[in-house]
């Protein structure tokens, strides 16, 4: 009698297990809408690209990555900056010397016309062209004129 009951219980359990398997099998037919899934994938990739942009290293990070010793030992960093500064100064001085040339006006593709530059003597005095003697720089003084010329000596 007991064996018969156990056999019946076992049969029921087997039956219910089989039914459960079949029900769980049907779960695979629950499928999402394709449009929703496409949108979801697009949202994921948008988030990923945004995260990727945030993860992208700045110039400072790049320098730190390439020259970690420069940041680990600040004195080396400062020394490096001084050397770089001195080097740039040296280069700029050389470049200034190399760039010196005569002043000129470009007149044709192959020729330069230069200004007549004032001649400079060894005393740094500038020589001007002489004015011809017949040229009058000031007019004659009139009799009734009250104008007094500066540095003009009047004889009473």
């Amino acid at each position: 009698m007991t064996d018969q009951v156990n056999h019946t219980d076992g049969g029921k359990r087997l039956c219910s297990e089989e039914l459960l398997d079949k029900l769980l099998h049907l779960k695979q037919y629950e499928v999402p809408e394709i449009a929703r899934m496409t949108r979801n994938r697009q949202n994921i990739m948008r988030e990923v690209r945004s995260a990727s942009r945030n993860q992208r290293k700045s110039f400072g990070d790049l320098i730190e990555g390439c020259f970690p010793w420069l940041f680990a030992e600040p004195k080396y960093g400062v020394a490096m900056l001084l050397v770089a500064f001195a080097g740039l100064q040296y280069l700029s001085v050389n470049a200034r010397h190399a760039a010196l040339s005569d002043t000129g006006i470009y007149t044709s593709p192959n020729r330069f016309a230069t200004y007549a530059q004032p001649a400079v003597t060894s005393t740094n005095a500038v020589q001007y062209d002489e004015i011809s003697p017949h040229l009058r720089l000031f007019r004659e003084r009139q009799k009734n004129e009250n104008v007094k010329w500066v540095n003009y000596l009047e004889k009473e």
């Binding site: 297990e17 039914l19 079949k22 769980l24 049907l26 779960k27 499928v31 990923v48 995260a51």
Partner: protein
């Protein structure tokens, strides 16, 4: 934390060794390497490859498609952020699944009060399935139930399982993951997984008993 590892659920998963699935296109390892070097397109291919599986896992765990979509998004973003720390000692698939399981359980804990079901529609191909015909035939105890009623009852019964039990049912009975792989994914022994599966199925049977008379 639900699993036996004693670690926080949202942490990066421990890498375990599981044979990789056969997929079209370049192997996962190559895509992972490229993605680690900043190739977003390579990661896009990985997303396309595993999106359906991860969605199915989260959907069956939550029985809510909106939650499943949010979770799927969070899981892939989390995986992308954690990718530089992935050493390649195990398959990407296992690593991703472990993130998915931990994140889903954590999510459910946070939203414990608000549990509503939002189910996907059945595919029309179900009518071509022999098992569906068996269940709706005259001799079946479920013949008087509509398909949507069956779906609702099964999902309710699933939601009444504990997180541990539901995880093994979803992974083994719905996704076909072997016991050994589940054990590695959830950080438990194979015996524990078998035991959880046995008790989970017993509970499901008793939940659905009134429809199986």
């Amino acid at each position: 934390m639900v699993f036996d590892t004693g670690r926080e659920s949202d942490t990066e998963p421990e890498e375990v060794d599981v044979p990789e699935e056969a997929n079209d296109g370049p192997p996962d390892d190559d895509l992972v390497l490229k993605a680690q070097q900043g190739d977003v397109h390579a990661f896009d291919q990985l997303v396309k490859r595993y999106h359906g599986k991860i969605y199915a896992l989260t959907y069956n765990m939550t029985s809510n498609r909106e939650d499943a979509e949010d979770l799927t998004q969070d899981i892939f973003v989390k995986a992308y952020q954690a990718l530089p720390r992935f050493k390649g000692k195990s398959s990407f698939y296992t690593w991703l699944y472990r993130i998915a399981v931990n994140k889903t359980i954590n999510y459910r804990k946070k939203r414990n009060r608000k549990r509503t079901m939002s189910l996907d529609q059945f595919d029309n191909e179900i009518k071509l399935d022999d098992i569906y015909h068996d269940l709706t035939s005259k001799g079946s105890p479920l013949r008087n139930l509509s398909l949507s009623e069956l779906q609702k009852k099964l999902n309710e019964a699933m939601q009444n399982l504990s997180d541990k039990h539901r995880t093994v049912v979803v992974l083994h009975d719905m996704q076909g993951v072997p016991h050994e792989d589940i054990a590695k994914m959830v950080g438990a022994s194979v015996g524990t997984i078998r035991s959880r599966l046995f008790y989970a199925r017993r509970q499901l049977q008793s939940e659905l008993a009134e429809f199986m008379k």
